[in-house]
Symmetry: C2
Subunit: 174 residues, 2 copies
DNA sequence: GCTCATCCGTTGCTAGCGCAACCATATGAT
DNA sequence: ATCATATGGTTGCGCTAGCAACGGATGAGC
């Protein structure tokens, strides 16, 4: 499937260059959008009460809300983060009184993470904002298109994971 | 792919109002996928000759390949990055002999960025890898679906930008 | 009981990222 | 011409990010 999509109809708003730009490839589009979404999140929660919570922390909070006391490594794996990173995110959350860590009884290597009351308050307080924002983000997309979008993203995610594990497990030709 | 795909098998024809899991919402999916794509890029270029180029640098390179000597701020704006960040990315690229900076003649505040020969070599050398990877990433998506994906992502990007500029320009009720 | 491999969390390193602040240059107003 | 403002780039700060490496804890082999 060639990428020769050199359509010349640049009747778009910007009209600077044709649409076959490299930046228009989904991969880069995903990168850019991810960055923009992060900024939007940060500014929104800042406006809404000046809560000092990053999107990364927020995803941890929602996961813990679904099931409290998860293992730290579990949280890392669920979001495809490495353990050091999750360790630091949780450190930040602990200092903000969002979670507390407790060593597991049976296996003292593992650490269980629990929500604090403050975290639950924040989750409850920001829920409507989250819903509102969601609606705004996907405005202009029909339900069906949203579903297709999720499917496509999951597929790319899976392909990426497959390519990564290929790199790991594949023995080099040398 | 997923470790536990235990979502209840609701007839996902149309009912399905809520996204079954919060992480399945496109926004978080975009975040996760963006991270994974970045790692894949880094490992691929590492395998392929151990080139020390990050995806962020690579996008700058392709932009400069399309038009050399762009202003630094121009590069930042084109990728929705702030100027400090682009400054540091370019610093890293300069130290890796990928670009060189030159103050503009007419306006000595501005800096023009130029590709080095080494950068052009790298771009040429990695082009086939990029194409190969592209095909693999989007495997399973029909041309039409890819187009829809790009459209959806661009729309979300635009919505995010709109929400951001709303926050900027909106006068607070106080 | 002891050793070794493994697992889990942390620390160090480098880099991306946005924001605030700073400095130099350029432009506009008076 | 002078001052004020705007623009462009950099530095400092804190967070995210992945990787390498280390130390503690566990479990398996002996």
């Amino acid at each position: 499937m060639a990428n020769d999509k050199k359509m010349k109809k640049t009747a778009d708003g910007k009209g600077l260059l044709q649409t076959s730009r490299a930046d228009d490839a989904p991969a880069w589009l995903i990168q850019r959008t991810a960055r923009l979404l992060r900024v939007l999140f940060l500014r929104l929660v800042q406006e809404e009460g000046g809560i000092d919570v990053t999107p990364e922390m927020w995803t941890v909070l929602t996961r813990l809300l679904a099931r409290d006391g998860q293992y730290q490594s579990e949280l890392a794996a669920a979001t495809y983060r490495d353990r050091p990173n999750m360790s630091r995110i949780l450190a930040g959350m602990e200092s903000r009184d969002l979670v507390f860590r407790r060593p597991d009884q049976d296996d003292r290597r593992k650490t269980r993470i629990y929500l604090t009351p403050r975290a639950r308050e924040i989750l409850a307080a920001t829920a409507p904002l989250a819903a509102r924002t969601r609606d705004r983000l996907y405005e202009g997309l029909k339900k069906k298109e949203l579903k297709a979008l999720r499917r496509a993203l999951r597929l790319i995610e899976a392909n990426t994971l497959a390519a990564l594990s290929n790199l790991d497990g594949e023995a080099p030709p040398g």
